[in-house]
Subunit: 240 residues, 2 copies
Amino acid sequence: MSSRVPQDRRRRRPTRSGVLLSEDLIVQTALRLIGEHGPEALSVRRLGAALGCDPTALYRYFHDTDDLVLAIADRIIGDAMAGFVPGEDWVASLREMALRVRAGYLAHPRAAAMAAHRVTRRRSEIQAVDTGIGLLLSAGFERAAAARLYLAFIDTVLSHAATDAAFQALPRQQREADHRAWRDVYQDLDPVAYPALTAVRRELPGMADGSFEEAVDLLLEALAARAPARRASTGGSSPG
Amino acid sequence: MSSRVPQDRRRRRPTRSGVLLSEDLIVQTALRLIGEHGPEALSVRRLGAALGCDPTALYRYFHDTDDLVLAIADRIIGDAMAGFVPGEDWVASLREMALRVRAGYLAHPRAAAMAAHRVTRRRSEIQAVDTGIGLLLSAGFERAAAARLYLAFIDTVLSHAATDAAFQALPRQQREADHRAWRDVYQDLDPVAYPALTAVRRELPGMADGSFEEAVDLLLEALAARAPARRASTGGSSPG
DNA sequence: CACATTGGGTCAACCCTGTTGACGTAAGGC
DNA sequence: GCCTTACGTCAACAGGGTTGACCCAATGTG
């Protein structure tokens, strides 16, 4: 196996073009590459070219490409929730959490698409779960309900965000083809076979834009309707 | 451009090994391949080998690999929705659609994990969309609302199902590790740093079972609350 | 200051992938 | 029977990840 990655890194050699490699620089350059030239631009060879080093030099820093992707994912999670402070309005706070997660994913779609379905168990995730459940407790839900409903909420948010990220992570041709599908294919259907689609034909092009916020709002409406306490509380209640 | 795929297929030549190719056989073999050896086992060359034909023969049936993936996705949808007839209770019908989709994904977890986020723009998908929007129209929603809300509903269902499928598609070790880790890590936390998690500590193990139905129920509650026509789930009244 | 050690950048090579153009054969309509 | 052409086959290309070997220079040691 490749134990090309050492734990303690002491010696640094500049590459042929004079750049001093580091794990941080590589992750940063990878994110820039994705941001500028699309998700499909991330490959070992292209990353090497962008860094000004031989592609295989990266294997001195990461076991394989998956290792690199996970390192990128680490940073995404941290960036998304950085500086978030839950407010007194639990609905609004949950909503902001949802939007932050999605924004973090969409900022780096390919890495997010690859890592979205994994349980990180890191501090940022644990912190987020604690915050979210705390918000539902402050809303008056009992413990079991708070845990269960938070799971339903965050799973939906994460799944949705992953879907959006996966779409952004598609190669441009496929992405545009999927986008066009709502305009083209769904516009020219047999009215007898597909009456409902024919009826809403004019509304379909808008569907390509996604439904994240609508879904979050629906969920929050349902949660608010189920909440025992009617007002968004001042949040100071201590857990016994 | 590759117009290698004809619309009307008349002539059939057996391959060198005697197999008679067809779009149906190819999709079926691809599903088997993915189910047995994982999503990464699906390549043109391997599929050709499994079928007993030259790999490039597949380009006579599918535009490119993406086209094949979309065909696989549509087959999964078609199988899941086979025999489904929407009833008079639109909430219950949407609920059954959701459960069917999820069951279809879980029947082919690895294929679903690969194809879940795509717009197949094929028959089975179009049929399902027509059915779903028709249900919301029958509930009294206006056209734009019906289209928008159906998208939010089905996106949530598909995303959730994809998450469940992705989890099932994980290697057993990783899957069980994730499952266990949830209990272990979240049971031994600093009460001061994570008060909410500590409060609901005993409820957490149940969270590992997933939240699909809870999320669907929340969504349907919100939809029912927004519906102009008041007759929802329990009533047996027929829609005009 | 000199030396031995070794981290790590580089190169060549391997095997994988999707895809295309050319080729020829056999299947079907007439 | 012929003629057309659908379609299975083959060779080739560009690009991917990954590895083993090479060797220079940065570093700890004396």
